[in-house]
Structure formats: structure tokens, C-alpha cells
Amino acid sequence: MKKLLKKLYIFLILLFLYAPIIVLIVYSFNASKSRAVWQGFSLTWYQQLFTDSKILSALETTFLIALIASVVATVLGTFAAMGMMKMKKKTFETVRTITYIPVLNPDIVTGVSLMMLFAFIGIELGFVSMLLAHITFCTPYVIISVLPKLYQLDMSVYEAAQDLGAKPFYALRKTIIPQLMPGIVTGFLLSFTLSVDDFVISYFTTGGHVENLSMIVFSMARKGVNPKINAVSALLFVTVMILLLIVNKRELSSKKHAAKNKDTLLNREKQIIKYRRNEGK
Amino acid sequence: MGKKIIELKNIYKRFGDFTAIDGINLYINEGEFLTLLGPSGCGKTTTLRIIGGFEQPDEGDVLFEGVRINDVPAHKRPLNTVFQKYALFPHLTVGENVAFGPTIRKISPDIIQKDVKKYLEIVNLEGYEDRDVSTLSGGQQQRVAIARALINKPRVLLLDEPLGALDLKLRKDMQDELKTMHKDVGITFVYVTHDQEEALTLSDTVVVMNNGRILQIGTPVDIYNEPNNAFVAYFIGESNIIHNSIMVKDKLVNIDGVDFNCVDTGFGQNTPVDVVVRPEDVVLVPADKADLKGIVTLVTFKGVHYEIWVEGPTFEWKVHSTLPQTVGDELGITVDPYNIHVMKHEPLEIPSEETAVEV
């Protein structure tokens, strides 16, 4: 009885979390434009989606920005983390604290402050400013992902490699980078996801000249329900699901500790929350 | 020793496919110090948890002074437990931890305060009331756990490997203290451990368990001197266990190919038996003074004695002797009849390597 109640409670929570998403997806297949009326199955909205040049260009912007931003952030952040390890404690603490600012600040504050910066130094709002903004909020996540790996780093192999005649850069590439790889990959994936997902910062740093998917959704949703958004949502939801499955599978097969495997997805999510949402030391 | 305070009747407990307790019958006398001893996974902790009310037996009865208490929840049993890893409440101070039980029972604060002081004194932690438990050492935490249990004046104190997490020196000290406490407080202690030395040192009664069954119940002296099967002999102290022995007839047993006089009777004639001989009971003599001869293969100095390995015809003997020997020498092996322990032959279930070395 008690068990049944527990199950029921969790079921209700899940219903609350999923009902809107499911309704959203179901209505993306609705033939009727008039929202809640079901007029039969159709792929009209998906067809319209792929002929809508605005949506297509937003799609391109979203992924192009995400790709460039996460690559740049990964390189910038990885080297930054390595350099930070060599700093004096005080400098390190200062740099780390500043690095946390974009992570902890509400997105709207980050967004408007960058907007003011671009106005201040005379960069016109658009693709470039958006890209710069994305690199700025992605890099800290890379640093935060890589730093713990650096703490655990076994430096002796680097020294051993040099002892055996490897040039410093070769030794770095062959010994340090592989050890940091898990952190770097996490940082990259995190950056990519956050960039694709971002609305608020993009909203303030593009000045309406360029739009990513989130912004399209926002401008369409402001006018009420639009089945095309449902179609975009359904596609994004499925994409994210598949991506998550791949990421999880990759970790499942790569992780040696079988016991930890069960909730890699969960751990990843926890990490993201850790990174994503406020607090920190 | 007084009357039976706790009785377990025909207890079975399964976890899925795993049978943790496989039919246990046991009684515990009021005031005694009883130890459940066995390798990990033998069912000793489960037995304790059944007594404490944290597990329900699948079959069988738990009696407290003759009354069935199977359905009495843990918080209503007149027993208290000292947990393996102390299980102190991390958000409370030492004093608040100790006062937890009395506070629940709505005893007046003045009395609680006095009691807390008194029991902290008993465990040698006077003045620690306001300390944060996380600032205490392992040994101190264990004392708090004991005080927290004792303050409730339980009829029985259950201790689940309470010294397991302490280092050797501290463990020895705590053993002495526990023994003193048992004497001073005068309540029944049920103690769980996998450390045979600890069991022998502390207990009035030792219960040796393996695979969910009780193998032997007895005083430490009985268990050590008269193990009633090879496992008990193996687990308690060091032993030579010779499996391929044959009981020729009453009072004559063939060990390692040679007939020995012994004191055991009733095994019949020419019956395969297990023979246990403690290493300190093996006497080495010049080769021509004994029928059983062997070659010394290894001599190790162990402090009080030398450990000497002697290769007999079919068995390698472990010998403790205060005299050294030379590797390669041939020696005679003799054992006094009363030092030969003959027991029914059965396959020996040696605990796996990791459980044996686990401390």
C-alpha cells in the first residue's frame, strides 16, 4: 500500500513534467492549425519547417555558433586551466573566482553586460558579437571540467617522457593531454549543449540581426501557439534524446567501473546543474 | 550466569537467493558476554540485526525473556546497538548524541544532563559534551556511540564489530575497556566480530558461525582446545589440519602415514577423519627418536617463538618452538596423545582469501 502510494506520487510528478511535452509533440502532427482541435495526423508542419527559410537559417546559426564557440572555448579553456595550475595561489584564486562569474550570474545579467560591452567597444550586434558572447560563457565550463583532471594529473609520466628524450611539446601531447581528455570532452559537450540551448544571452547580444532557434521560438511563441514551434520542439527533443543516449552509451562502454555506469546520465546532469546553476566557493 | 534473556528459535533469513541465516538456535544468558564469531558473510551481523529488530526473520521466533518479539519494532525493544561505523548523528554535539535516547523518552532535562555526564565519564570522555562529533577520533567516536547506547540502560547491548575501524593498538585498549565496562554495567553484551583473538579475549561464550549456521558454541577455552570441526580449528588460532588421517581403532589414529596414540574413541575402525594439531603442540625430536620424520623447509623468527615448517611424508607441518632449527635437517615429529584432536571428516570450507585477511 505504502509502496503503491510512493509509485503513484512519482507517477504524478512525472505526469506533471511530461504531459506538456507530450501534448506539444502530439500536436506537432495535428493537421489543423486551430490548436487544440485534433483534425487528424499530418506532417504539414514539418514540411513547412523545412521550407521556412527563417527557421532554416536559425538552425544554421545555432549549430554554427555552437560548433565554433565550443571548439574555441575548449582550446582556450584547456590551455587556461593548464596555465592556471602554474599560478601562485592568490592569482589562481582570483582567476578562478572571476571565471565563476558567468557561471553564477543570472544569464540576463551576463547578457546585458556583454551587450553594453559591445556597444562600448563598438562591435555591432550580430553574428560576431553572439559568437564572442557564447565563447565567453562556454569557456568557464571547460575550465571547470578540466581543472579537477589537472589536480589528479600524474606528472611523473610527463617527466618520464622527457627523460626518455621526448621534446616538451611532444611529451605534453602524448602524456598530459590524454590524461585530461575526459575533462576536455566533458567541457566540449557541455559548451555545445549550453550554446545550442542558450536564449537569454543570445537575445541581448544579437540585437535582432541574427536569430538562433531559441530566439525564433521566443518571437513566435510571443504571438501564441504555433504548430511550427511544436514541430521544432519535437525535433529538438528527439535530437537531445538521441544525443543523450549516445553520450551515455559512450560512457557506458568507456567506463571501467560497472557499478558507476547506471547513472552516468544522472551524474552528467548533476554536473551540469553544479556548473550551470549558481553557487560555488 | 542468570536466566535466558534472549532466545533465537529456528531462525532462517534469505536475501533473494542468498541464505544468510540457515536455521539458527541460540540462547543468551542474562549478564553474559557472548560473541558471534565468523568470517564475513557468515550471518553473524544478520543475526545481530534480527535481535536488534532491523531485520525480520523469514522463519523462526525471537524471544525476549520468553516473550516473542518478532513484531516489536526496533525502537520499542529494550536493546541498544553500537553500530559498526558508530552511526553518530553528525548534526548533533557529543552531548546531544548521548542525550538522544532519553530525550525521545521525555525524561526531564536535569536528569538527562546528569546522565549524559555520568555515561561520558564511564567511557572516559568527561567534558566532551559540547564537542562536534566530527572533531573526534575514531576511538572517541566509538566511546560516544557506546555511551549513547548505555545511557538508555538497555537490558542487552548489541555491538556490531565496534572496533573494526580502529587501529591495532587502540583496538587492544578498547577491548580492555569494553571488558571493564561489561563488568561495571552488568548488562548482557552480544558482540559480533570476525577477529578470533578479540572473541577469545572478550567473551564468556563464543558462537562460531559459517555459512549461516552455528558450528560451535562454547567458552573460549573449549573452542580453542576442543574445536569440534576442522573449520572451527582453522578459524580459531593456527592449526595443522590433516585431512587424510584414518582412525585405525579407538585411541589409535594414523596421521601422515604413521600411527599415533590419541584419546579419542567412538569413530569406529579404519574411518577417514580430520585431525587437528596446534603448532605449539608439535614436538620436534631427533630423527631417530620418532616414527614420523620430516625435513625442515623454512624457519622464521616470530618474536616469542620460531615458526618452523617441516615437510612430512604427505603433509607439511607448522611447528611453533622456542628453539631454532636448521633448514634441511631431518627431524622426528611427536605429539602427545591429548594434543591430537580427532574430528569427523568433512570437506573444509575455507573462507576465501579476501575475507580471511580483511580486518
Binding site: L104, P106, I108, T136, R222, L266, G280 | P73, H91
Partner: protein, 275 residues
């Protein structure tokens, strides 16, 4: 190996894109350029205390607090159930609870539109059973619902992760010492879960307080929160001074909650715990 220079590009980046913007917020919050000259002023900060904005700030707090409270009341039992050992498939359930967070935040908010609209599913249902149409959108209810929906997992997870870490034997010890179920909860489990609760509350409250999307979409712009005012200053009105002053207010609140969480929160849930 002198790798310190590896950090130089980032240091430059950090200075331009993190430090300078931060400085700009202070700069615009405390200066005025109306007379052609840049002068120090407290006008923008004072402006926050105009009744108009105070009301908005009050409303933001009020609605975020209610949303946080609802999340807590809904989330704590859920976290407890998930953390209880006899609950089967808890990993699957946990992943299911976490999964919506991966969906775009805008889409999640938008998804309520088709349910809440006057022509939406819920109203159709109400009409069909003869209860008539109810105004579900464009009011406080819709905005709070949107906040609860978006941030509920952020309440459940930190509490869950603290609850599963509570040593089972501590609970047993409390029972052993005579505490019944309710007492075990009040005296042991709840106090021990406080770090998770503090983290959960912050993780729910702060984003709720600074949102402008949820209020914009679900109230159709009828309900204005701090976030909406800031947005308006930068996209429509152009009053950067006021926008910066309000942003500063949010930053101060974040700072305070950081101090709070460092003191009472679960460090391992915080990003700091990772380093």
C-alpha cells in the same frame, strides 16, 4: 615546464569579456551622461526604490518565493521516495525527472501554452464536462506554474543527492534509541538533508527571481518581474542606468545566496565542491 603563459590568451579574454562588462554594470549604474558629461550619481539606484519598481521587485520576490515553496513541498517527498531503498527502478525514475531539463527552457515554457490557453486542452476539457472556461493564462498562477515546472527538478536533485548519502545506520541508530518514524524524520533525516534543501531553494529561487521569459510568455506580458524591467531597459527604453542598477541588485542577491549556500549548503552540489 613553464606553462603559465598558456593562460595568457584566456586572461586577456577574461579581462575583456568578464571583468570589463562587470565594470560597465557598475559604471552605468552609478553614472549619468545626461548633461553630456559623465557624472557620478545615485539616481539609478534610488530609482529602484520608486514605488513602481519596488512593486515589481516585491512581486518578483513574492512569486519566486511561492514557486520555491511549491517546488519544495512537491519535491521533498519525491526526493525522499526516490532515495528510499525499497523503491525499485529509482535510477530510471531519476533519469526521467532529470530529462526534461535537457529540453530547451523556452520550449518547456512554451509547452504550457497549448495546455493553458483559452482554447487550450485544459479549458476544452473543462468546457466539455460543463464547467465552463477558466482563465488560466495571463495571471500569477500561470507564471508561478511555469516557474515550478521549469525548476522543480532543480529542487528534487540536490535534496535527493543529500538524502541518498545519509548513512542508513544513522537512521537505524535513531530507531534503536527509541525514535519512531516521525521522530526519525524530524530529528535526523530532515536536519541532515538541510544542505540539499538550501541548495535546492537557491537553485529554484534565483533563476525564478531573474526570469523574464516565463513571465513574458505565460502572462502575455501582463505580469512584469525584475527580469522584464531589465529587458525593457535594454531593448526598448534604453535606460541603461536603471537596467544596470537592477542587474546589480540581482548580482548582490546572488552574492548573498552564495555566502548562504557556502555556509549551510551542500558543497558537493555546488560547483566549488568539484574543485
Amino acid at each position: 615546464m613553464s606553462k603559465r603563459r598558456f593562460a595568457f590568451p584566456y586572461l586577456i579574454w577574461m579581462t575583456i569579456f568578464i571583468v570589463v562588462p562587470l565594470f560597465l554594470i557598475f559604471f552605468y549604474a552609478f553614472t549619468d551622461n545626461a548633461s553630456g558629461k559623465t557624472l557620478f550619481t545615485l539616481e539609478h539606484v534610488k530609482a529602484i526604490f520608486q514605488p513602481l519598481y519596488l512593486k515589481v521587485i516585491g512581486r518578483s520576490f513574492y512569486m519566486s518565493l511561492i514557486a520555491t515553496l511549491v517546488c519544495f513541498v512537491m519535491g521533498y517527498p519525491a526526493a525522499m521516495i526516490l532515495a528510499s531503498k525499497d523503491f525499485s527502478q529509482k535510477n530510471t525514475m531519476l533519469i526521467l525527472i532529470v530529462l526534461p531539463m535537457w529540453m530547451n527552457f523556452l520550449l518547456r515554457t512554451y509547452s504550457w501554452l497549448s495546455l493553458l490557453e483559452n482554447e487550450g486542452l485544459i479549458n476544452r476539457f473543462l468546457v466539455s464536462i460543463g464547467l465552463g472556461q477558466v482563465q488560466l493564462m495571463y495571471n500569477n498562477f500561470a507564471v508561478i506554474l511555469g516557474m515550478v515546472y521549469n525548476f522543480l527538478p532543480f529542487m528534487i536533485l540536490p535534496i535527493y543527492s543529500v538524502l541518498v548519502k545519509i548513512d542508513k545506520s544513522v537512521v537505524e541508530a535513531a530507531k534503536d534509541l527509541g525514535a519512531n518514524g516521525a521522530r526519525v524524520f524530524l530529528r535526523i533525516i530532515f536536519p541532515l538533508s538541510m544542505p540539499g534543501v538550501v541548495s535546492g531553494i537557491t537553485m529554484t529561487f534565483m533563476p525564478a527571481l531573474s526570469t523574464f521569459v516565463i513571465s513574458r510568455l505565460l502572462s502575455g506580458g501582463k505580469i512584469t518581474l525584475i527580469g522584464n524591467i531589465i529587458e525593457q531597459q535594454f531593448t526598448i527604453t534604453g535606460d541603461w542606468g536603471l537596467g544596470s542598477a537592477l542587474s546589480l541588485l540581482l548580482m548582490v542577491l546572488i552574492f548573498i545566496s552564495m555566502i548562504f549556500i557556502n555556509k549551510y549548503g551542500d558543497e558537493s552540489v555546488g560547483a566549488g565542491g568539484l574543485l
